[in-house]
């Protein structure tokens, strides 16, 4: 695990760096608060940070306050380093959002157990974050998260002229599965369908459960043509063979609507989804188990 140490005092830095490396951490070093704040804003920021209270530039408490105010995720577990006899400082540090504190001089054993406690908290935070962003049943992203990703990608279309495509995928006649076999079997089918929907995707694509048996796929960098290819692969992946359940094999197919934005001016997520939804409706009307696309997102079927 990566850990940031920020201290302007060379002896303490040497001590921390040596000890932490011996404990198996990958250590990132900052010599003052500005450097620490810069490192903590990066995407690959360490998950653990030991910040000295009093440093030139930004002090540890200010760094801590900024990290918390930024709402940065994943969560950074912050331990404030104080020299003994700074009780008021310590209260201020904890108020600024620090998770723990350590008084200098600290011994190795104490450092080890405090950091282990921190790692436990981080593991719980990560679990909560996964729960908050993913759909319980299918394990794909939840509606809020996938919409958030779509909005972010749409902002990029405007800034960098990178296209983005979406696929709205709806399982065909899913209600009949529930009616015929019950909800437990329905859940099994949903889970397996979600897995098959995800299979053709690239690592930076996103898929979320948009409604009951409806899924939204976001394809950054894709125009209509490549999105149609992906949609076709998704269709084959889901309908290629029946889904095995405890009640026997269940045949399942999917209908898909595709829409894309290739350049500015940007479209709102709602408009793009509406266009995909119209295309999906056409796919359903045309007999299901097929892909349709909105040649122009302004088309309204």
């Amino acid at each position: 695990m990566r850990i940031l140490i920020a201290d302007d005092e060379d002896g303490t830095r040497l001590k921390l760096e040596t000890v932490l490396e011996k404990l198996g951490y990958e250590v990132v070093v900052a010599r003052d608060g500005n450097e620490a704040w810069e490192l903590l804003q990066r995407d690959d920021a360490p998950a653990l940070a030991l910040l000295d209270w009093l440093m030139p530039g930004l002090d540890g408490v200010e760094v801590c306050r900024r990290v918390r105010r930024s709402g940065k995720l994943p969560y950074v577990y912050i331990v404030m380093l104080t020299v003994k006899g700074q009780k008021q400082d310590l209260v201020a540090g904890m108020d600024a959002g620090a998770d723990d504190y350590l008084s200098k001089p600290f011994d190795v054993e104490e450092l080890r157990v405090r950091l282990h406690a921190g790692e436990r908290i981080l593991a719980l935070q990560e679990e909560l974050r996964l729960q908050a962003t993913h759909d319980d049943l299918t394990g794909v992203l939840n509606r809020g998260t996938v919409l958030e990703i779509l909005r972010r990608e749409l902002a990029l279309v405007a800034r960098k002229s990178v296209p983005v495509a979406i696929i709205l995928a709806d399982l065909d006649d899913f209600k009949q599965v529930n009616d015929r076999h019950g909800h437990a079997i329905g859940d099994t089918v949903l889970r397996e369908a979600a897995r098959r929907l995800s299979t053709p995707m690239r690592p930076y694509d996103a898929i979320g459960r948009y409604g009951g048996e409806e899924f939204l796929i976001v394809l950054p960098g894709c125009g209509v043509d490549s999105a149609l290819l992906v949609a076709e692969r998704v269709r084959c992946s889901v309908g290629g063979r029946p889904i095995t359940t405890s009640a026997g094999d269940v045949a399942m197919t999917v209908s898909l609507g595709v829409s894309a934005v290739e350049k500015a001016p940007p479209r709102l997520a709602d408009e793009l989804i509406q266009a995909a939804d119209d295309a999906l409706y056409r796919a359903k009307r045309a007999g299901r188990d097929r892909v349709e696309h909105a040649s122009n997102p302004d088309d309204r079927a």
């Binding site: 302007d8 002896g11 040497l14 001590k15 000890v19 009093l54 200098k104 001089p105 011994d107 190795v108």
Partner: protein, 118 residues
């Protein structure tokens, strides 16, 4: 080495789980930087700059805390508090205490950092 300073370094060594080599490296670093750290305290007192005194004394205190050196630590703490309170009236006396404690610590660390591992 006085008995007192031996036991001080033992505490510092225990805190590092007996890593003499690491303590020796920290000691050498401190010995190299101590004059500069002390100079910052002196200058702050000379200028009557309370903020600078608080910072310089604090940094020095952080440095000596690695050696569990109570006398030097307390002397630095006193100066740090003077800086924080903005009252430098006892500064000269506190500085003398600090310098004497640091001389003692430098002596102890000088001996220790010369030793080879036993």
């Amino acid at each position: 080495m006085s008995k007192r300073s031996i036991s001080d370094l033992d505490a510092a060594l225990n805190a590092l789980e007996g890593d003499r080599e690491l303590l020796r490296r920290i000691a050498r670093l401190f010995l190299a930087q101590c004059p500069q750290l002390l100079e910052e305290v002196r200058e702050a007192l000379l200028r009557g700059d309370a903020d600078a005194l608080e910072r310089a004394a604090h940094k020095l205190r952080g440095s000596v805390s690695n050696f569990a050196a109570k006398k030097a630590h307390d002397a630095a703490l006193r100066l740090e508090q003077m800086g924080r309170d903005g009252d430098l009236s006892g500064g000269a006396e506190a500085q003398a205490h600090l310098e004497s404690a640091l001389r003692e610590l430098q002596g102890t660390l000088g001996e220790f950092s010369k030793d080879s591992d036993t």
